[in-house]
């Protein structure tokens, strides 16, 4: 049996308190989500409607698949800005092999393989060239992957997929959009992976202190490669849903998706300094941004105002999550304790 490394975070030593549970960032996010629901349903008569609320998820969940591995990457103090290009490349290759006569089922598998390979290359390069930061490595592959996609299709688009393929983007199972069901399934899998396995604990260990993790016997390089490969794989899943939704593909799809994904993760309370945050926060953040956009869209707010609101939300989340970890608050806590005593 392998030696297990299970770091115990400071919080696990603290005594249980309901107050602390509800002051967590995830619960604040739930609060913000409820406020958004409340305000939106006040502003538009079309918002609070089962069909619209479930149907709206089709618009914003496609990129949300990449949020899961991105949480892991950012927990390890790394980043991946090539995911948008990976979406484009895997989608373009899927369409190309389909147009060359491969059955669509196989083309989808090719798409997943291409995505995973793109992710693996990122992971390999980051581990191999430790002196280069992940931003630089994934910036290069971001340009590279998009460039290959352009080289393959130039300015053309490929469409004409079999009709069952539209099911990914447009189909429903018992009134719930198919994409929502897949998202829920994957959230369970990734939450379990991050919070209930040794693999997940190792990610936190790397994020808290990479050197300590390495000396404790954690195979840091291997875990990084696996997580980056997962990021590529999820980008390919996004590619399948997005391509199905548009019915055709072009090399310029999923432009800037990486930034949307990173915004969702940051809003979810994952600190870029590593080791802090969890999957629940990021999953809630996906819906916060998604329904904020949808709700403001229903009352026809200009797109740029929407960007301003999301920017402000982000600044708020980053400042609060960092404040929580700063020393000031521990002083507060001590004072509070004294008062209680």
């Amino acid at each position: 049996m392998e030696p297990r490394f299970e770091p115990r975070t400071i919080s696990s030593y603290k005594e249980f308190s309901w107050k602390r549970v509800f002051l967590k960032w995830e619960w604040l996010l739930v609060g913000i989500l409820l406020i958004i629901f409340f305000i939106n349903s006040m502003l538009s008569p079309y918002f609070l409607n089962y069909f619209n609320i479930t149907d709206a998820t089709r618009s914003f969940l496609d990129k949300a698949f990449i949020v899961f591995p991105m949480v892991m990457i950012m927990l390890m103090r790394e980043i991946d800005i090539s995911v948008g290009s990976t979406v484009a490349l895997s989608s373009v290759i899927m369409a190309t092999v389909y147009s060359m006569g491969l059955p669509m089922e196989l083309a989808i598998i090719v798409c997943l393989l291409v995505g995973a390979l793109c992710g693996y290359i990122n992971g390999y390069l980051i581990v191999k060239f430790k002196e280069l930061s992940a931003v630089i490595v994934t910036l290069s592959t971001m340009i590279l992957y998009r460039g290959i996609a352009y080289m393959m299709l130039e300015d053309q688009s490929i469409g004409g997929f079999p009709s069952w393929f539209t099911y990914f983007g447009w189909g429903s199972i018992a009134t719930l959009p198919f994409i929502l069901i897949v998202f829920i399934l994957l959230s369970f899998i990734f939450t379990l992976l991050l919070h209930k396995t040794v693999f997940g604990r190792n990610i936190y260990a790397i994020g808290s202190n990479p050197n300590a993790a390495r000396f404790s016997g954690v195979n840091v390089d291997k875990i990084k490669r696996i997580v980056y490969t997962l990021a590529g794989l999820m980008a390919a899943v996004t590619a399948i849903f997005l391509t199905s939704r548009m019915g055709s593909t072009r090399p310029n799809i999923a432009n800037m998706y990486e930034l949307d994904v990173i915004a969702m993760v940051a809003l979810g309370g994952i600190s870029t300094a590593g080791g802090k945050g969890n999957m629940y926060g990021a999953i809630i953040a996906v819906f916060v941004i998604g329904y904020l956009q949808y709700g403001l869209g229903l009352i026809n707010i200009p797109a740029q105002i929407l960007l301003i609101i999301i920017g402000l939300l982000l600044i708020m989340s980053v400042s609060i999550t960092n404040l929580k970890s700063s020393r000031k608050l521990t002083i507060f806590k001590k004072k509070n304790k004294e008062q209680v005593l």
Partner: protein, 349 residues
């Protein structure tokens, strides 16, 4: 303390969202007051390619004018970036709002098909204007001008400007912009005529309708082709950016710019000789005609079949015609702007 701080932050967020929402409603014109005061008015939505495009704003202005004349409620939308993904989300939101008609300038001819068909299946009338979507995604397309004429006329113009001799380049919008690509095809066909045998099209560059990219693409053209005689920019953003580069580099008269531009943006360059003349139709009229076409669709006066006729306010009577790529309504010939008439148009649009 901590609680106080948190509730303060939450409260400010709430105020912010509310403020933003009320601000947005004001700017969207006659948005529905309250929640159910919209029972009588039909909702006309227009979706442009991206925000902050002067051409799109003028077009939407014309659309709004027409819709107000027929007593409808207008919704103006555009994504922040010129992407199909953004337009798909907007159309979904419009479907949820149960609008009566959607007029769209597509960022891609094919990729909007699933979502626009969903709209049509729910009884929403769909037409495209300016940049067409494919014929299965719409009922009719409002075309600003016959694409063949738009393409050929620009080559005729540039040939006259450079005495039928020398290298020319094209600075277009995005590489998949539907209308630009059709015009460029016609330009290439016109160039095959014998009288242009001494002219050579060296490159089609794409400025993506972004000012900075159009500027750097123009600079790249000048560097790669030092003997370049003229640049044709069949897009309003591109022609203004190219003209600025030529003027700043002191190449006025050596490299000539022409194409399709907004008079208000191009007046300076037409007067200084950077661009002897250029073409455009009136984007306000394109929007206005589309507004009336939308009205005719909603009221059932037309169904989008060839031969349907309707009256478009001040513009008079129009007929739906059949083309290779579905049915269309043609506005008219492109209009020539030169030193003589630029002053009377530059304040209009």
């Amino acid at each position: 303390m901590k609680k106080l701080f948190r509730s303060g932050v939450l409260l400010s967020l709430l105020c912010l969202i509310l403020a933003a929402c009320s601000g947005g409603q004001q700017s969207s014109g006659n948005g529905d007051e309250g929640s159910s005061g919209d029972s009588g008015k039909k909702k006309y939505a227009i979706v442009f390619k991206s925000e902050g495009n002067p051409y799109g704003e003028k077009q939407s202005e014309g659309f709004k004018k027409a819709v107000e004349e027929v007593g409808g409620e207008v919704i103006l939308r555009a994504p922040a970036q010129p992407t199909v993904e953004g337009q798909i989300s907007i159309i979904e939101e419009l479907i949820s709002q149960k609008v009566d008609v959607i007029a769209i300038s597509g960022n891609d001819p094919d990729a909007l098909q699933p979502v626009l068909q969903k709209a049509m299946n729910q009884g929403i009338k769909v037409l495209s204007l300016d940049s067409a979507v494919n014929k299965d995604s719409r009922m009719v397309h409002v075309n600003q001008a016959d694409p063949e004429r738009v393409g050929r006329i620009q080559i005729e113009a540039v040939a006259e400007m450079i005495n039928f001799e020398g290298q020319i380049a094209i600075l277009s919008a995005t590489s998949q912009a539907t209308n630009q690509n059709i015009w460029i095809e016609w330009m290439k066909k016109e160039l095959e005529e014998p009288e242009y045998s001494k002219m050579e099209l060296v490159k089609v560059a794409y400025g993506d309708d972004l000012r900075d990219k159009s500027v750097s693409e123009t600079e790249a053209l000048l560097q790669s082709y030092p003997d370049l005689k003229a640049i044709i920019a069949p897009t309003t953003v591109g022609i203004a950016a190219a003209s600025k580069v030529i003027q700043d580099k002191g190449l006025t008269g050596k490299v000539i710019v022409t194409g399709l531009g907004l008079p208000s943006e191009m007046a300076e360059y037409i007067k200084s000789g950077v661009s002897p003349w250029m073409y455009l139709w009136n984007p306000i009229d394109v929007g206005y005609l589309s507004g009336y076409a939308a009205h005719a669709l909603v009221e059932g006066e037309i169904t989008g079949e060839a031969g349907d006729k309707f009256t478009a306010g001040d513009l008079g009577e129009y007929e739906v015609v059949e083309t290779d790529s579905g049915t269309e309504i043609l506005l008219g010939d492109p209009f020539k702007f030169d030193v003589e008439n630029i002053d009377e148009w530059k304040d209009i649009y």
